[in-house]
Symmetry: C2
Subunit: 386 residues, 2 copies
């Protein structure tokens, strides 16, 4: 393999695939990135795969000798990111292929220096999963980012909770639905299918749970803004996101996802419309004191004064009160929440106003944006002794 | 105590003194900030003191009732920093003073909320050291920042090394000298005395070692740019830095500082003039590989080609070579360094070119900026088996 490319290209694409490199590889080759240089297309593709998450990307290069090899991803990335802009040459200088240990000396050259690294032959590198007979859905990158971002935060970070560490994707009549819950709160978002696509009806079987970690990478990669449309393919074990010159594959979480739709109440006795930023910043101040105890904030709805009052009382530390103007329908009530759950939900919503709908201090409350995005955020109140 | 001030003022001054608040206070009051409100001057002063480092600052406020009290610094700072801009009122609401436990309820009010915190009476708060009969030197803030920044990085971070964890300040004929060493390298900087000052001759006795932690705070505070001149006062146990409305006090490190001047060679057999950024970025790339072993970089000076070649060879990882144009006088030589020491020194220098002076591969090398700042950075080479 012999190629010449720009430092900018190699550095940015290495950083892109680096997320799928094992930090604690079960086999040395999983700490490496796979180079595939194609003399005919004059392109180089980079792949990394930790056996769960796989990322592949490609870019243009002057390939004078095609071939494949793998190089330690972190070492190469750390050097390339510190090189000045300009041309770099990569060369395995070894026409006989790997030595008896599978080891190859790769040379990276730039205008005033050279680095030699020990690569490993590509033969041992596991192939990234491909989906032959699966179904495909197309979504705009914008809708995908919005859907993922609005659901991901509610997934569980606790690895023992298995299927709850993922986001559930399912086809609905209106488009693609994203749902995540950690058992205490639930976020459900529906985004419209891509206009070019016949839509969700074309893929009635889509109902999969994808690890949150993989979806966070999808957001990061799409945020780089290289594409407007994302194709989603899946089969019973894998999901593949594809756009422009990039591809991300992830295993699926296999257990049954909870039937979350039945948890969402359809009728409410109380309804509050409130400025999102005013509520969020009030909660953030209250959380300073709530933090010191049990994270509980009390919310008092007063239809007479049309205000929502927040209060916290942490003995030995202090107490606090915030008054926020709100449009309240229904009778007055008092309800308590985990302040963190409210803050996290309000942070991912981007509308000016939100709506809170409630029945009793012990039944689910629903937070939703007032605007175009179809998002439902369910939070269980906390029971407090008065 | 009753006062009204702006959120901006209170928040920025709280953040300023917060550096001197104990993170693990030996007494509860050391986690607090002392408020002193003066009805006559219509100013509030804030003080924090961890018994080693003390910081005091003051700002204008509407003081309707003077007085003193202390409030938990982190709790208050966390709430105030999250408040919107505008007026705040602080009120201890208690005309009888602290209760039998020394506890006071302090109320912080803003337009749409209120917070109550438990303060402690000011009586127990330790007084910040003052210096009555000490000597005073004046230095421009710029010279102080430059002197401190150019020496601080070379101080030891190892608390068991006692006096080496500080920076030594001493009066010289030309101005104030800053020196720091961790036993492996030594930075010495001389900055000119302030033009308004009769200069260093006026304070011949200045020879003190100040904890690096306190000096880092001096830099941060001066970087806010509120003053052009700094007054330095000292007595055998304490040093005080004073400017505008701020004051920082620190205990001194008492042991004898090493006689570092005798370590600096006066004559050299080899001299290299080299572009600082080119050398620094070459070293940073080399360090990626050197890191994996023992941090050693080899430097080969070639008068014939007028280049300094850097090289590293870490078995099982890789190797690297960098060639940097340089003006070299003296014969060719090979010398090895800890790459971290060179990088750290080159980072604090801000001239385009630097000079390296050497005698043998086992005697001290001197790195100095080519320009106005009088800085000497001594680095001991590393002995390597060839």
């Amino acid at each position: 393999m012999k190629l010449v490319c720009t430092q900018t290209n190699l550095s940015s694409h290495l950083s892109l695939v680096s997320r799928a490199v094992s930090s604690r590889p079960s086999h040395p080759i999983l700490a490496n990135v796979l180079f595939t240089a194609n003399e005919q297309t004059q392109r180089v593709s980079l792949s990394a795969f930790d056996l769960s998450l796989g990322i592949q990307t490609s870019f243009a290069a002057q390939v004078s000798e095609g071939g494949t090899l793998t190089i330690p991803a972190k070492l190469l990335g750390d050097i390339v990111s510190r090189l000045p802009e300009g041309e770099l040459a990569l060369d395995d200088g070894d026409e006989d292929g790997p030595d008896e240990n599978g080891s190859i000396t790769v040379t990276l050259k730039y205008a005033s220096g050279a680095y030699q690294m020990r690569g490993i032959g590509a033969a041992e590198f596991p192939e990234l999963p491909t989906i032959e007979d699966g179904e495909t859905a197309n979504l705009s990158a914008e809708a995908m980012i919005e859907g993922l971002r609005s659901a991901l935060f509610a997934a569980s970070g606790d690895e023992t909770k298995q299927v709850l560490t993922g986001v559930h994707l399912s086809a609905q009549d209106e488009g693609l639905e994203f749902a995540a819950t950690d058992g205490h709160r639930l976020a459900v978002v529906t985004t419209a299918a891509h206009p070019d696509d016949a839509g969700a009806v074309e893929m009635p079987k889509l109902s999969v749970t994808v690890p949150a970690k993989a979806l966070q990478e999808v957001i990061k990669m799409l945020d780089r803004g290289s594409s407007s449309t994302v194709a989603v393919k899946f089969d019973p074990g894998q999901i593949v996101f594809e756009w422009a010159d990039q591809r991300l594959t992830s295993r699926l979480l296999e257990a049954q996802y909870p039937n979350y739709r039945q948890l969402i109440p359809r009728q409410f006795a109380h309804q509050v419309t409130i400025d999102r930023k005013a509520l969020l910043s009030g909660l953030e101040r209250i959380s300073v004191i709530a933090d010191q105890r049990n994270n509980i904030v009390k919310m008092t709805l007063s239809p007479e004064s049309q205000t929502a009052d927040l209060s916290v009382d942490a003995q030995d530390v202090g107490s606090g009160q915030e008054t926020i103007p709100a449009q309240i329908t229904g009778e007055g009530m008092e309800v308590a929440f985990n302040v963190k759950y409210l803050i996290e939900g309000l942070k991912v919503i981007n509308t000016t106003e939100i709506q809170i709908q409630l029945n009793t201090p012990t039944s689910p409350a629903i937070v939703s944006p007032l605007g175009s995005l179809k998002m439902t955020y369910l939070v269980m109140p906390v029971q407090v002794r008065s």
